[in-house]
Symmetry: C2
Subunit: 213 residues, 2 copies
């Protein structure tokens, strides 16, 4: 099974025999990611999560110290999954790959992780603005690490002349990630494949919506 598809397990001890505890913990995390993603942080109750994971509310406390601790773990997994996906897909490119090739690959990997693989990254994107400030502060460094991958990519584009000189790369990065992340709000699986969204997004980011030069 694809490493990324395994969700929470992907960040755990892969290949080892899992204890019952670890398996339950993973079921709880999977349920939490899905429900947080759907209803938001505050509207999701520990009871909802426990029900979906097949145990009682009080039992959650054996695995997590609090609701905040649980959501923090979901956020961490969500960011890690997309970070690893983009990083590894970029690493597979030949060393002399162009900026356009790199950007295309990064866009596809980001959208695949966000829209089709698991609920963790979409939960992350959708609720990061709703969680208590101290939770957000704790996961922030990890998010910045991800941002730096994109920042580096844009810098490479600028150096190779593929990106407008004089542009504010930080602002550009936020616009690009906004284009991609907002897809969690409107994308409905089944109508269009994720790849179609990724191709249209790549086209717009690289050349705009106008007629190609």
């Amino acid at each position: 099974m694809d490493i990324v598809k395994r969700g929470a397990a992907a960040l755990g001890a892969i290949g080892t025999v899992q204890k019952k505890s670890a398996a339950t913990r993973e079921r709880v995390l999977d349920a939490a990611a899905r429900i947080f993603r759907e209803h938001g942080y505050a509207a999701t109750t520990l009871n909802d999560i426990a029900d979906a994971a097949g145990l009682k509310t009080a039992s959650l406390y054996y695995h997590f110290g609090s609701k905040e601790e649980l959501v923090e773990e979901v956020l961490r997994i969500g960011t890690t999954l997309v970070l690893e996906a983009v990083k590894s897909r970029l690493a597979q490119l030949p060393a002399d790959a162009s900026f356009r090739d790199r950007l295309k690959v990064a866009v596809h990997a980001h959208l695949d992780t966000l829209l089709s693989l698991t609920d963790y990254t979409s939960a992350d994107i959708r609720i990061i603005g709703q969680v208590p400030a101290d939770v957000r502060a704790r996961v922030w460094p990890l998010r910045e690490e991800y941002g730096e991958i994109w920042q580096g990519l844009l810098q490479f584009g600028k150096q190779t002349g593929a990106v407008r000189t004089g542009a504010d790369l930080g602002l550009m990065r936020m616009l690009i990630l906004g284009t991609l992340n907002y897809a969690t709000e409107w994308y409905k699986p089944g109508r269009k494949p994720v790849s179609a969204v990724a191709e249209e997004a790549t086209a717009m980011i690289l050349g705009g919506i106008g007629t190609a030069p």
Copy 2:
């Protein structure tokens, strides 16, 4: 005072002498928009809103039947403000204005309303995915009305040859609005003027991030 700046009042009886009731109602709405925007729907309590508006929780029920009714009004005002802003700015253009001019004006109007004028539209964008499903269903037609303005704009672009033929305009519209709407998540007033964000966004949407042809 600018009509748009007046927020809730802009949708009320402008120019007439306001009753005390209407003035209080507006204070409540202003407070609600700000706090919903900051903390999300579920995490915002009626007590928070009442405090900010300078009255007791129970008194809110004189003006609104429930929390749902209150948030629905905030959402309606938020969508109406951006819809009217974009519509009126487009109407001010000369009849023979190009697609590029029209798109630029629409982007600026959208971002101005979203990022600097009031809290209503940003609250709308940030919490629409968190409110109870029946509230969302009731305000949906109004949101679609706004979407149609953009859809018409893109169709005009296609007809005049400014937009790639063969493109899925619905998908394109979602990508563009995503680029703009996601700015509510990261934009911090003070660093960059909204106009700088609007110009960079316009440039990317029209011609991509690359070197201009």
